[in-house]
């Protein structure tokens, strides 16, 4: 008798906690999806707005789906209208950014790899201090170097040029690339290097034949990090270049701010998507490496 009561009450209890659990799960998903819509909302608005005509934009709301997909504003954002003064469009600046990003990423990554290699595998007295010395460069606010940099680029005759921006981005990327490679190479056993040295391998041979082939993951992390940082930079781009040498973020900002007679929000949004799409693609394709770079290099100057 008493046993059956306890079993049924236990069942009741179980039932209760099951309902509670299901409610909790619903609540969890509700909150998670609510936030997901907050994060998706601007992207949705950008895409939808870029596909509408101005007429439709004025009549509908942010969320209205376009009556028909209209890619005109994309064409205008990328290639202009082909007439009129002040016909600015992104195509040349997109290539400026490519021409700036590729060498800057290459040089900063290479220097960082070599520096990280020396700091971990050819240790000497005071190497910790050298690392700290370089690491500090990750944290400075760039405003503290903006004025002398502007003058230096002027003296070197490369202000307002893509070359100038390549130099700037290479230099201020070094602390990060060094940090990435140093932390990666620290975990590679020194015995590997010792054995190679006994076999007669020299400084460069060890680097190119032994370390570099196993560095793929950290190279990916570093290249993605540098690519994203340099592609998205606005401070250096807007301070050290204007007019034709400007990178895409500067051009985007100029396009959006330029107040011609009628504001074309659809062209603005198409431009913003074009400026954002390269880094977005990298993020979607290599999210894991992107996040790894982010969590180890986040404190950027």
């Amino acid at each position: 008798m008493s046993a059956s009561i306890s079993v049924s009450s236990y069942k009741k209890l179980e039932q209760k906690s099951k309902i509670k659990n299901i409610l909790l799960r619903w609540f969890l998903y509700f909150v998670l999806i609510l936030f997901a819509s907050y994060f998706i909302f601007p992207l949705y608005v950008m895409v939808v707005t870029s596909l509408k005509t101005m007429e439709e934009i004025r009549q509908g709301t942010l969320l209205t789906w376009p009556s028909q997909l209209n890619f005109d504003s994309w064409a205008v954002a990328w290639g202009g209208r082909g007439y009129g003064a002040g016909d600015t469009f992104l195509r040349p600046y997109f290539w400026n950014s490519i021409k700036m990003v590729v060498p800057a990423v290459f040089f900063s990554t290479f220097i960082g790899a070599m520096t990280g290699y020396v700091l971990t595998k050819w240790r000497f007295k005071g190497d910790k201090w050298v690392f700290l010395f370089l690491l500090f460069g990750c944290f400075i606010p760039f405003q503290a170097i903006l004025l002398p940099m502007a003058r230096t680029l002027g003296v070197l005759g490369i202000s307002n040029s893509i070359l100038g921006l390549v130099v700037v981005h290479t230099v201020y990327g070094i602390p990060f690339t060094t940090l990435f490679f140093r932390n990666y190479y620290v975990s590679i056993p020194n015995e590997l290097i010792k054995a190679a040295r006994i076999d007669g391998a020299g400084f460069f041979k060890i680097f190119f034949k032994i370390l570099l082939p196993i560095s793929a993951p950290i190279i990916v992390v570093t290249v993605i990090w540098q690519f994203t940082q340099i592609w998205n930079d606005f401070l250096f781009g807007s301070t050290f270049s204007f007019g034709e040498a400007a990178p895409i973020q500067v051009a985007l900002n100029n396009m959006v701010l330029s107040s011609t007679s009628v504001k074309e929000y659809n062209v603005d949004m198409a431009s913003a998507i074009i400026a954002g799409i390269p880094t977005l693609i990298v993020y979607v394709l290599a999210g894991k490496y992107f996040i790894r770079g982010l969590t180890s290099g986040a404190v950027k100057g």
């Binding site: 909150v31 220097i111 070599m114 940099m149 998205n232 880094t279």
Partner: protein, 291 residues
Amino acid sequence: MFKWLEKNLPKVVLTPAVGLIGWFVYGFILWTLYISFTNSKILPKYELWGVGQYTKLWASRKWLIAVDNLLIFTSLFLIICIVIGIILAIFLDQKIRAEGVLRTIYLYPMALSFIVTGTAWKWILNPTLGIQKLFIDMGFENFTFDWLVNREMAIYTIVIAGVWQSAGFVMALFLAGLRSIEDEIVKAAKIDGANLFTVYWKILIPMMRPVFFTSFVVLVHISIKSYDLIVALTQGGPGISTTMPALYMTQTAFHKSQVALSAASAMMMFMAVAAVIIPYLYSELRREHVS
């Protein structure tokens, strides 16, 4: 000669990095510091002028507005990002279906530039055609949302866009932190009768102290440097109501040609960052030593 080179090759390879950073970071900061003690206008003058620029800076209404805005922005940005980040991380940690997709959605704004973010939000917050119209068309006829053009409220639009960009990143930091904790601890606590809420509130969140610290440093750092977002969203306006130190610095140097005054403001920013970063570096290095 050859022997010397062979022996010192590692140090030779180190020279480009050390030389470049020595010159372009340390040398340049010292130059900026020096210039801030001169009376340079358009071109740098090297005659010392004392601390006049700093007194001028702290007497400037625009600079005080900038500092005020920085305090408002930093505190809101920090609190909201951390609260959203923790909630999302804990919720995602409950064996959620489609976790990968949700994570990707929360974090993608970090891949965009602040200029793209600012451009998008500027359109969304547009006082005639943006959110306001959305609500009016939904039937809330008296709904007004004009923060972007409202002197008192414009600074909060920067908070909205900034949080949107960075909250997912804080989520990623906390999620990584939660995942690094042994399941055993949670299991043991549950066996002892603790419910899920207690497990998080009493055990896991207190264990996240290093993650709080990192988030704090990263977010404060981002907010002190805030520049692009303000340029894209408000250009410091309406009037000068959303000026922040970084914007003050470039405007003073390149539009007003007050190089020394600008250098003084840059040094103030530098010191603010140093005050946050030096304790952080110190603790990080100590942790590395211990482990």
